[in-house]
Amino acid sequence: MVAASRAIVLLGAQRFNPTLGEAADELGVRGKIATITAGWQERETEDDDLREHLGERTINLRLHARADVIFREDPEFRDAHRARQALLRHRQDFYRIRLEHELAAQHVIRNRVAPAEILAEESRASIQSIRDLDRWHLEQCSHVRRDFEEKWKWVERDAIAKQRAELQKIIGDVDAVAIAGGHVAILLNRLELFGIADFLKGKTLFAWCAGAMALSERVILFHDTPPQGPGAAEVLDAGLGLVKGIVVLPQSEFRIKLDDTARVRTMAQRFAPSTCLGMPARSRMTVRRNRYSHVHDIVQIAVDGTHAPLAGEAA
């Protein structure tokens, strides 16, 4: 569900063969577009391709560089922020340790021979344990953030307030905001640092890959074949929650083994009732008032482990 009737367009990877311009045309967005490329980190301003693709009408908000300015100008806050990030990393480490054991238990249960009703019950209980752990981790992250916010009230600090005022002005003057992919944790961090969500109300949004993940309620890290062995999908943190009821899974064409039914079933059941959506390159959809339209090439993963193209309403 979308907070207002504005359109939010989620897209697959834009690096090669982008579809962003097409989506903007479809919505009749003709004016300036603010871009957020903070997920690219130091390469944030290497956005020539994006600017050219959108017809030289973009204004890069440079959130990564602006954060560096804040950290330079306000070292006390920088140190506190760094300490909070270390705390969040610890939480993530411990969550991952516990999660791997829960997933291992689920794997063992799945392969046991036992009466069907017992197996079904134990399997449900095992999935519930994983869901509980996911929720617990989200709560811990939320506590860390809330404590930090209460203590530091950072949006009121001079260095940040100054940057926020500039950002508010820029965003206020554009027709839409486009949020690129990249490092999702860093992107989320910068979006939160500047309280960007406050300025997005009513704006048409375009977001792809990590950007699309950041707009959802929960950011799920996933990769079925990392070099260190089978990867376990893990909850990173809450997203901005501007798009509800879905889990965004970009680059699904090479990150998810869709034919491994048991594996994708576990994933879909873990995050239900949210719907897991694989978003390969060139996929996209428009979300408006809890309805999908202009759906292209999105893969919906069902709780029984099957997958099929996502159906959407016509525009």
């Binding site: 992919g181 990249g182 999702v184 990769h223 990392p226 070099p227 260190q228």
Partner: protein, 379 residues
């Protein structure tokens, strides 16, 4: 239906000179057919012996000469994905010498020279060991350090591409650093794995010892040097993350003993250990292992650890080749490590005690100990 061995086909057809010429010209050697490998040599000799380093097989296997020819051959069972290093011991008159296989261009180099390499069916040289033109290269800077306890030391520091002093990096200290650089292409491996986001930007200290058998075999002075002298100096010079999770030690053979025993002497300092084919000799009774007095201090250390296993680190990656005698010691260590609460990953390979085995395990080990941002980057 199993295809007949090519050597048998030649022998059945009648090994005339022209047929042998064609056989040599048409095949790659050793000839790998499924799980069988045929070693072939052509030349004058009185006796020819295959020398290999597969623990569990006879280390000397005689090749048979095809009567009235200069062709020699031997067929052995070699499981898929194996890598076997070997030489020929050629006897002529009263003299003998070890030579590399002149029909096989594959070589593995090490500090003692080079060996020929048999690559079993399914073995592939990992592509991430080759330079990737898209991977931005890090830089190697010479490291010179005057230690109050062990004297002047040299080595190299690897700094990742895009190194910035304003950032903080994990640190990995590598024993036998120059050998790792030379024989495992570790700089190329680091460049590639960082480029692929499989490991983070990382600083690596490649260190050497002038007397490794003494210093690496459970030596208190060495542990002191690494932890109380080298580490603080690196922390002073470089922007390092000050957490055990971001500090690793690694090594192979005696270098693995050095890493393990250093971490044991300084628990909770080194949060990541990469131990390859560790010379973890121990005894169940008595103090002298069959490997000899060189291992006495190693035996003392491993026996102590076996008596009282303790968590000195957080994550330990152990690898070993199944064709090396140390596989027994390494397999024996794993359940003990696991009892301590440390996270342990053990990987076996059909390979021996050599640098290419250690090279081939680097990706799995490094990415498990220091996971890169692969799970975080979606673009």
């Amino acid at each position: 239906m199993i295809a007949p061995l090519k050597i048998d086909q030649l022998l059945k057809a009648g090994p005339t000179k022209s047929r042998i010429d064609a056989f040599i010209a048409e095949n790659k050697f050793p000839i790998v057919q499924g799980e069988q490998a045929t070693f072939v040599f052509r030349g004058q000799a009185d006796k020819l012996i295959l020398r290999h380093w597969i623990y569990g097989l006879e280390s000397a296997n005689e090749l048979q000469r095809v009567p009235e020819t200069d062709l020699w051959h031997l067929t052995l069972d070699v499981p898929p994905r194996s890598r076997v290093e070997y030489k020929y011991e050629i006897h002529r008159g009263s003299k003998s010498k070890w030579i590399e296989d002149p029909l096989n261009p594959n070589r593995a180099r090490d500090p003692f020279g080079a060996n020929s390499v048999l690559q079993g069916e399914g073995y592939e040289l990992p592509e991430w060991t080759n330079p990737d033109p898209e991977a931005r290269p890090g830089i190697l800077e010479p490291l010179k350090f005057d230690s109050p306890t062990v004297g002047e030391r040299h080595g190299h520091i690897y700094l990742p591409a895009r190194f910035r002093r304003s950032r903080q990096y994990p640190l990995l200290v590598v024993h036998d650093g120059s050998d790792y650089l030379k024989y495992t292409q570790m700089k190329t491996v680091l460049d590639n794995l960082i480029h692929r986001l499989e490991i983070p930007d990382i600083i690596v200290a490649f260190t050497d010892s002038s007397d490794r058998l003494r210093e690496y075999g459970n030596d208190v002075t060495h542990a002191h040097f690494v932890t109380e002298e080298l580490l603080p100096e690196l922390q002073r010079l470089l922007p390092l993350i000050d957490r055990p999770q971001a500090r690793g030690l690694m090594g192979a053979s005696f270098g693995a003993v050095a890493a393990f025993s250093t971490a044991w002497r300084y628990p909770r300092v080194w949060g990541r250990l990469l131990l390859q084919s560790g010379s973890f000799a121990f005894t169940d009774i008595g103090k002298r292992n069959h490997r000899g007095p060189l291992f006495d201090r190693v035996v003392e250390f491993i026996n102590n650890f076996r008596d009282q296993p303790t968590a000195m680190s957080e994550r330990v990656f152990v690898s070993c080749g199944v064709y090396e005698s140390l596989i027994y010691e390494n397999r024996s260590l794993i359940p003990l490590l696991e009892t301590t609460g440390m996270e342990v990953k053990f990987v076996e390979a059909r390979d021996g005690h050599n640098w290419e085995n250690w090279r081939d395990r680097l990706r799995e080990g490094l990415s498990w100990l220091f996971p890169g941002p692969l799970m975080f980057v979606y673009e």
